[in-house]
Amino acid sequence: MFKMEKFEELKSEWAGQSSAIIPEEGVQTIIEKMKKIKGKQRSTNIILAMTCIVLIGFFVYISAYQFRTVMIGLLLMIGALVVRIVLELLSINTINKLDASEDAINFKIRLPAPLAALYLR
């Protein structure tokens, strides 16, 4: 009985903690941050895709397939870029599919292990 009374005390102390000041420009900051994040994601993917295209163009231009070492080097660079682009797109897709308004148990079940955690803002 004493413990429950004590918990009620804790609860009233919790309720009585100092109120935070609501940021005046809070909403605007959130909307701008969202735009910035989306823009950053888009520009990263555009830059990666363009680099990839330039490398493929260079590969064809110098006829890299005729030189074994050059071909391996260029293919490695292009391959790494393609993997990076695919990972970026997969992570964006994963984040977009996550519904943060689900109940906690279902949310945890749907959460793909390390990828989402890594790319969460």
Binding site: K3, L10, V27, I30, A100, S101, A104, I105, F107
Partner: protein, 178 residues
């Protein structure tokens, strides 16, 4: 003309959404930041960052809110899920911070209420992720039926768990052990 009017209607709807979001933001800011404080051992700056992350998710999902549940319950769900994820991301940073909080509270002689609140934060920090969410919602005064809806656990199970966590939290605040 058609383009102009549809463009205007989109613009009006965006403005309405923004003003609705502003309303939601102001009405729920305090309860969200209190829950976030519970996740970061009372660190005000981290709690503010976390609150901003929560409202980013609210802004992203506002269009899909279907009035099936109370908006406060819906925001509590987003808060719990976002805090859980951010906890994973800032795991190590948070642990350092929690330890810093412990040493600060030992060194400083805060007022009795602040001390009690600090102890509470440290005890909440020792709980598992699910138990932490449950007790923070209980401290917020959310009815157990709604806590069950936020957590996705049956009402009966929540009732039992709340009782257990209340006992161990009270014991921890009194003795420093869970």
């Amino acid at each position: 003309m058609v383009f102009k009017s549809s463009f205007e209607s989109v613009e009006v709807s965006m403005k309405q959404d923004k003003s609705y979001f502003e309303e939601v933001y102001r009405a729920n800011y305090q309860r969200v930041i209190r829950i976030c404080r519970g996740y970061v051992s009372g660190d005000e700056d981290l709690a503010k960052d976390l609150t901003q992350e929560v409202f980013i998710k609210v802004w992203e999902s506002l269009a899909s809110f279907r009035n099936e549940s109370n908006i406060a319950t819906w925001i509590y769900r987003i808060t719990v899920n976002t805090c859980m994820l951010q906890f994973r991301k800032k795991k190590f940073f948070k642990q350092d911070n929690a330890l810093q909080g412990l040493s600060n509270s030992e060194e400083e002689n805060d007022t009795a209420q602040e001390n009690q609140l600090n102890k509470m934060y440290q005890c909440v920090d020792k709980l598992t992720q699910d138990n932490k969410a449950i007790i923070l919602l209980e401290l917020e005064g959310l009815p157990q039926k709604e806590i069950a809806a936020v957590m996705g656990i049956s009402h009966e199970a929540i009732r039992v768990r709340v009782h257990r966590i209340k006992t161990s939290l009270t014991k921890c605040v009194q003795n420093g052990k869970i």
